[in-house]
């Protein structure tokens, strides 16, 4: 409950934040703090300095740009929940509880790449894009290149995730979540969407070290086959006291069936 000592400062613009990070490589960005602070309280993370980006106005809110929604990284789960985004509101409803949702941000969650987080499955299924700014300027990363491993995203030290671009129109979408009974994070979460062209895209989170596309499910559904079983190999999945790799693989099948039935 008591983090180690740290320095703290606030940034009021992206430019200022990037300058602070460039000047001090040890500084750690804090957004809603709902992943970072628990880790600090357990002293699993001991950053010497925090840079608070919560107050940066240009990182807040959701706007429409043609076929895309552009979501500021500091948009809270609560605001996502009340938005017109495809699929994300349903997913946001599954994140934590109202307190967590009022404070946690979409950018924080996706930059953090927690293997049991909910959003990554939705981002992969929808084909979201990530706008990242760093000392070298701005780059856009497709969802397929965002989640690199456990707690490892494409966002590099010194960079800031500024916006998430989400396709505005899909025909249908569904998210099915199997909650860990204690943490309520995803043991498995499966997102399935039918895009503007009627094609199925799907992804899962929770079961493995990072969220992944469910290519096998997409192939089967796009060629008119049933969902079936064996969508993922259990050998690639995580296991713990509550859910073995084999069980997780089975849950991916079950949740995929349920989500597919809704799109």
């Amino acid at each position: 409950m008591y983090p180690a000592n740290f320095d703290y400062q606030k940034a009021s613009s992206v430019a200022e934040a990037l300058a602070v990070m460039a000047a001090n490589p040890d500084v750690k960005v804090i957004a809603g703090g709902h992943s970072l602070l628990p880790a600090m309280k357990l002293r699993l993370a001991q950053p010497p300095a925090l840079l608070d980006v919560w107050g940066i106005e240009e990182l807040k809110g959701i706007r429409r740009e043609g076929d895309w929604f552009v979501v500021g990284a500091m948009t809270t789960h609560a605001d996502v929940l009340r938005s017109e985004l495809p699929l994300f509101p349903e997913v946001a409803y599954e994140v934590g509880d109202p307190m967590v949702r009022n404070r946690g941000t979409i950018g924080g969650s996706l930059a953090h790449a927690d293997p049991s987080a909910d959003y990554p499955a939705a981002a992969l299924a929808l084909g979201a894009e990530f706008v990242i700014r760093g000392p070298e300027g701005e780059r856009t990363v497709p969802a397929g290149e965002m989640f690199l491993g456990m707690f490892e995203s494409a966002v590099q030290p010194g960079e800031l995730l500024t916006h998430v671009r989400i396709p505005a129109t899909v025909q249908a979408s569904a998210y099915e979540k199997f909650k860990h009974p204690a943490s309520h994070y995803a043991i498995v979460g499966v997102a399935v969407i039918r895009d503007a062209n009627g094609q199925i895209r799907a992804a899962y989170t929770g079961a493995g070290e990072k969220a992944e596309r469910l290519h096998r499910l997409e192939e089967r559904l796009n060629s008119g086959q049933p969902v079936g079983t064996g969508l993922v190999e259990s050998a690639t999945l995580l296991g713990d006291r509550f859910a073995s790799p084999e069980y997780r693989a089975h849950l991916v099948d079950v949740l995929a069936e349920r989500a597919a039935a809704r799109v």
Binding site: P181, S183, T229, R241, V254
Partner: protein, 796 residues
């Protein structure tokens, strides 16, 4: 009756007087108290389950900001502070020394190795994290049965074979004879797994020492401040009792975990005395997981025998009780006198025999946890009874019904020592069956076959013994404590009243319920009455709150003290009315002369005159104050029937608790709202054990569920609406007729929910027994295996 107060406060569902302050955050808990100049203690806890401490390098924190002192086991020894004693002794009990700070050896993860005291909490935590300690790891053992195995690691040199005690109860020869006559027997291996109490308020202590008066003051999170004072003063610190004042202010839940004397309480007292400044410690939540005394942890074999009519002939029980690394306050009593004596349940058993082996392991100590022994007994009996009913092909309700002790058979001597003074089990069963539409549920269970969902209906009829008593008996059984309770009633000159009780609420609503009793006796508005508790400096001696004793024992003591007040008040009133005492009645809030109702005196008139003493009966002492000590003649025996309804998703193994109904008999209800609240919380907690909670350790004694990220407590949306009802069978021996209700929900619900899950699995695929908790993968695998092979579970 006067208009200002209802006819009767007893039985009214008054809202709790304490709730506004709790809800608005103005309650005063131990950690809220601030004394000037307070220093903060942080504990350095063992990361090993079993290790020798080879070196503690104090210089590793030298010069760190704010650090004032480092205390180790040597300092405790040098101060002449003794180990923390056990409060219940059994024959040949082996008691390993439990020091405030480890002396050379640690025996569980979380054991205290050293203490850092600093000016702020953060400074203390920083230094504690850096204090250099060298350990030599020793081999360790976590599971009770593993500790008994040949060649198992030895936890303590002075507890050979890790056996702290062996205990038995019942007539073994009679039981063997019953089994020889049996038509059918079943044998079930059951594990009642370990739990973490998880009170919302973590433990905390704040100590102050006054060099001038040599008095200590300790604010601490205690369910029983007088027990804390007695043990700390007389047995640990070696100081006169009256030199230590223990204040236990608002307490945010305990479930038993705040009964016991803890190491940290000794540490802050010693540190305050040595450093000359107040010292505070408040547990971090992760410390609570490895330092609050834990609950349950039995491995048992139960065997039940019946005749060809389905009548029970005998129950044989063999239990290994895991006590953890040290024996704490009531640890030896929980798996023996609070468990073995309850193994008769509500049935007419000709014979019961139980053998219990208490074992030490390298885990956090285990002691009383909500229900303490009775949930273990209820689970064992009721699970085994269901296994038998299933195998006999009898309806579990009918099987129970034909075996109940009948209402005309009380007082009933069981084969395991207790004498049940009253009971009437069938009406509670019938009411519960009706309330839950039991027959319709059974029909629905049939209809749901093949839908991918299975319905389970779990039924249990429990009995529990609470309000442990009488003192002479518990003394014979090994208790180093009395089990009476005290009450002081102080009437002020204005007729306002303070009640003092030695029991102490940690969530039970005493400040509302006790005044309800008093308002009826004194016939005054409840607003004029306050309850004072939780401070050894103010109350007469008392034994605290646990074992559902406060209403039955503390409430009875109050009733006796109130009787003394009204008797004296009546004398004064008669004197003032110039009538003889026999002609004065106490009715409608006034004392009046029979037949001359216009002549009356109010309670206020009497209270004022008692204090002015201008006109009192000849020879009467002034004042209006009385103390009573009540030592019950027997336990009280609440009972009831609980029914749980679960739905299992065969695709995932997820168990959903869909419905829950219960009929409890705790005698007359003082406050039905509070009683219902106790039942609700109890059901949630017991269901938590059956479905989610487990303090799992690995083989070496590492706690695998050390945070709320892994340890699953039930949340509101995991639970259904609870239907509650009561039957009323008063206790024949206490003046209020009341019985405890604080633990009944937990005692009953674990077994009810477990039986519901197993009822589903029996009906679906003839699975006889699985151990709790029924987590989804466990259930999914069991269904898959029972259906014979891979991949079938998702096919229906």
């Amino acid at each position: 009756m006067t208009e200002s107060r209802p006819d009767k406060y007893m039985g009214q569902a008054l809202k709790r007087k304490e709730d506004p302050r709790f809800i608005t955050g103005t309650g005063q808990y131990t950690d809220d108290f601030v004394l000037p100049g307070t220093l903060h203690a942080a504990m350095v806890r063992s990361p090993y389950a079993h290790a020798r401490i080879t070196n503690i390098d104090r210089s590793s924190v030298d010069g760190m900001p704010g650090v004032v002192a480092v205390l180790t086991g040597e300092d405790v020894q040098a101060a002449g502070i003794g180990p923390i004693p056990v409060g219940w002794l059994l024959p040949d009990l082996k008691v390993p020394a439990h020091h405030a700070v480890a002396q050379g050896e640690v025996n569980h993860v979380g054991d205290i190795v050293a203490v850092v005291v600093a000016e702020t909490r953060a400074q203390a935590e920083d230094a504690a994290a850096l204090l250099a300690v060298d350990y030599e790891a020793l081999s360790s053992v976590a599971l009770g049965s593993a500790a008994l195995a040949e060649g198992a690691p030895q936890v303590h040199d002075d507890v050979p074979g890790n056996v702290a005690f062996q205990w038995e109860i019942g007539d073994e020869a009679a039981l063997n004879e019953a089994f020889n006559r049996a038509h059918k027997t079943v044998k079930v291996q059951l594990r009642n797994h370990r739990l973490i109490p998880n009170a919302i308020e973590p433990r905390a202590s704040l100590a102050q020492f006054s060099p001038a008066s040599r008095e200590y003051l300790l604010y601490t999170t205690s369910q029983n401040p007088h027990i804390h004072r007695l043990i700390l003063a007389a047995f640990v610190m070696g100081i006169p009792e009256h030199k230590l004042r223990v204040i236990s202010p608002d307490v945010g839940g305990g479930f038993g975990s705040k009964i016991f004397q803890y190491q940290e309480e000794v540490i802050v007292l010693l540190a305050a005395q040595k450093l000359g400044k107040p010292v505070k410690w408040t547990a971090r939540r992760s410390e609570s997981f490895v330092s609050d005394m834990q609950g349950r942890d039995h491995e048992s074999v139960a065997e039940l025998a019946v005749d060809d009519q389905g009548k029970m002939l005998g129950l044989r029980v063999n239990t290994v009780a895991n006590l953890g690394a040290y024996l704490t306050l009531f640890a030896p009593a929980v798996p023996t006198y609070l468990y073995g004596t309850l193994l008769n349940g509500v049935y007419k058993f000709p014979a019961v025999h139980a053998r219990v082996t208490g074992v030490v392991t390298n885990t956090v100590p285990v002691d009383a946890y909500r229900g303490a022994g009775r949930p273990e007994a209820t689970y064992l009996i009721e699970r085994t009874v269901d296994v038998m009913a299933h195998e006999l092909g009898m309806d579990p309700a009918e099987f129970r019904r034909i075996n109940f002790i009948q209402p005309d058979e009380f007082p009933y001597q069981t084969p395991v020592a207790l004498v049940y003074d009253s009971g009437n089990y069938e009406p509670a069963l019938d009411k519960a069956l009706e309330m839950m539409h039991y027959q319709e549920l059974r029909a629905e269970q049939e209809r749901m076959k093949g839908t991918g969902k299975i319905l389970g209906i779990g039924l249990i009829s429990y009995l529990e013994a609470c309000g442990l008593a009488p003192s002479a008996l518990v003394g014979q059984l090994g208790a180093q404590a009395g089990q009476w309770e005290s009450s002081l009633v102080r009437v002020h000159p204005t007729g306002k009243v303070e009640l003092y009780t030695g029991s102490h609420s940690h969530g039970q609503g005493h400040e509302t319920a006790f005044p309800q009793i008093a308002a009826d006796e004194l016939q005054i508005p409840i607003e004029d009455i306050d309850l004072i508790h939780g401070d050894t400096g103010r109350m007469p001696y008392g034994w605290g709150t646990y074992g559902s004793r406060s209403a039955a024992v503390g409430g009875s003591a109050l009733k006796m003290a109130l009787g003394k007040i009204t008797a004296k008040a009546k004398k004064i009133a008669a004197h003032l009315l110039e009538a003889s005492e026999e002609d004065v009645e106490h009715e409608g809030g006034v004392f009046r002369v029979k037949g001359a109702p216009s002549q009356s005196k109010t309670f206020f008139d009497v209270a004022l005159m008692a204090h002015l003493a201008h006109n009192l009966p000849e020879g009467m002492e002034p004042g209006l104050e009385a103390t009573a000590f009540y030592d019950p003649k027997n336990f009280v025996y609440p009972f009831g029937t609980h029914i749980a309804v679960v739905e299992i998703d065969t695709d995932t193994g997820v168990v959903r608790l869909r419905g829950y109904g219960c009929v409890d008999d705790c005698g007359p209800l003082i406050n039905p709202l509070i009683a219902e609240g106790q039942v609700h919380g109890g059901i949630a907690q017991g269901a938590g054990q059956a479905l989610w909670e487990e303090a799992a350790y690995d083989e070496d004694g590492n706690l695998l569920a050390g945070t709320f990220m892994e340890y699953a407590v039930p949340r509101a949306d995991d639970l259904p609406h609870f239907q509650t009802d009561h039957t009323v069978t008063p206790s024949p021996h206490n003046p209020l007729g009341v019985k405890g209700i604080g633990e009944a929900g937990t005692i009953a619900s674990t077994a009810a929910v477990a039986n519901a899950v197993m009822d589903a699995l029996w009906h679906e695929c003839r699975i006889k027994h699985l151990d709790m908790p029924y987590t989804s993968e466990k259930v999914w695998r069991a269904i898959r295996e029972a259906r014979g092979g891979m991949g079938q579970a998702a096919d229906d």
